[in-house]
Symmetry: C2
Subunit: 329 residues, 2 copies
């Protein structure tokens, strides 16, 4: 299903139209007199992506009563550019061969060119941001630097099976939830909302981001790989502690606890070993615990929406939580 | 010799004091609650660097009659951060083992962490930029995207021995001269200069950048490697056409022309082969031609300064051209 069809399932029609404008601005900004640069930076954006971040910015803007949508469309485009840049750089760092069903930018164009394509995409985002108030740039820049910090924390904690839930939240808060939280803050601020509503929408984004990541963690252990598009057990393979892995470690008896840790910290695992580790985790309450924790964050996101008056847009934001909670892909 | 001593040789005292403030702002902005991130991003800046770009911004600001220096110091710091970020990413792309006499960031901390350290440094620069007028951000962002384009052009033209001087100027104009040109424009604009002075200072920077690069090209073929700190013949080794290589190709008789091209396009050269290629080039008028071309750009830079009224700062800008022309390191 393409981006439009996916979004049309639940998004307000007006916002879907706004997203077409965002799309125009994105591609306009990636024009370059160096043809290869244009090809590289547009490649991933043409390959797909649900444009969740711009959609969230637009929804928030409209939900708080913002009217002149042209004010917010460029920054929504900029945030998608930032997200794209981080995907390009992440794929370099993880040596990922694929993204959105195609070869990753690094695989297709080589590491060096992918690196500058990411830089270029970043810069174009900040060029757009420059037309906004310094406060808006600060929110987005802080989210971006948090993203980089989260990446460093994650790579420092690779193979650290003693990671706590607090450290997990700190890392994911920076790496995944921060930019989504910034979307809410920016949409609300530009829509003319007061401080409490801005902070509410920022909180909604933060909690939605954490919910999203925990569901991702769960799908990595019990999802249908024909739907998620990636093999089960990636976190185990990469030595990254997810919520279910952290929980399993804390409830397992010593022998199995050690067996799981050994598999997580092993540099190369066979498929058999991955399967064994998954079974150890499934045999505990770790998946239920993780669903419970995801529901807790989802419920915080729902509460955060209470700062909004009722509207179709608010309804959409509520449905977005359900979509994240119920996704199986 | 450290940064201060090097600069003190010719820089106005006031500007040297201003540079200390720039230094404070740089390090303040790289603070992070992730200790390793702070360590990585400050590493290269602590290792040295002449801070030529901030110095040029400050000089221009003062030369056009700017008074409140605090207005320009943050953006001068931001430009040094951008320069640092590009060095970090360049070293990844070239797999450079060293920079400023130390292990490069990628060598010291690994590729993945170096990549995000570069991103983080970039983002901090744009966070500072956000406090400025959109026009200022646009100048700097355009220089940055040009830089990325220049990098792509350069890598596309690796081993392209038919590169023309026009294509060379286009690439170096983007990759090296663009950011220096932006320094001049930003310093002049913030100093309150009119359009003609802004464009004059931008032109000064552009021509100084080209001069700098051509001198670099020359030093790569006849410099003293104990002073330049890198072995001779790097451009030949890396298959990058420099001004002397382009010139030599255009004046050599067919047999030697082919021999040179073969050496430039060879993936791995022995030291003997590099030495042979250098001798072929030295045997033509290529080095004299290159010096002449560098002098042409230097003279355009000098002319560009004529938009300024006389001052110590203007004198400094003139001396900067001599320093670039006469450098042997």
């Amino acid at each position: 299903m393409d981006r439009k069809a996916k979004m049309a399932e639940f998004l307000d029609e007006q916002v879907i139209e706004d997203l077409d404008r965002v799309e125009e601005i994105i591609f306009e900004n990636l024009k370059s007199d160096v043809g290869l640069m244009e090809e590289m930076t547009q490649y991933l954006l043409k390959a797909g992506g649900k444009r969740v971040r711009p959609a969230f910015v637009l929804l928030t803007f409209r939900a708080v009563g913002g009217t002149d949508i042209e004010e917010v469309i460029p920054i929504a485009a900029a945030i998608e550019l930032i997200h794209t840049a981080t995907l390009i750089h992440d794929d370099i760092n993880d040596s990922s061969p694929t993204r959105r069903g195609l070869a990753s930018v690094n695989k297709r164009f080589g590491l060096a060119k992918a690196l500058v394509a990411g830089d270029y995409t970043f810069v174009k985002a900040f060029r757009i941001g420059g037309a906004y108030d310094g406060g808006i740039v600060k929110i987005i820049a802080d989210a971006c630097s948090g993203l980089a910090e989260g990446e460093v924390l994650q790579s420092m904690n690779r193979y650290n099976t003693d990671l706590t839930l607090e450290e997990y939240e700190r890392t994911i808060g920076k790496k995944t939830a921060g930019l989504i939280s910034a979307c809410g803050a920016v949409g609300a601020k530009l829509g003319g909302a007061g401080e409490d509503v801005v902070s509410g929408m920022s909180g909604y984004g933060y909690n939605l981001g954490l919910t999203f990541q925990i569901i991702d963690d769960i799908l990595d252990l019990e999802g249908d790989d024909s739907k998620t598009g990636k093999p089960l057990g990636t976190d185990i393979r990469e030595g990254q502690m997810s919520v279910p892995l952290i929980r399993a470690r804390s409830v397992l008896e010593p022998e199995k606890k050690k067996a799981l840790a050994d598999l997580i910290t092993k540099e190369e695992n066979t498929q058999d070993e991955i399967d064994r580790a998954i079974l150890i985790v499934r045999d505990t309450d770790a998946l239920d615990f993780s669903k419970g924790l995801a529901e807790e964050f989802a419920s915080k996101a729902r509460q955060a929406l209470e700062v909004l008056s009722d509207s179709d847009y608010k309804e959409n934001l509520n449905m977005l939580i359900d979509v994240v909670m119920e996704r199986d892909y």
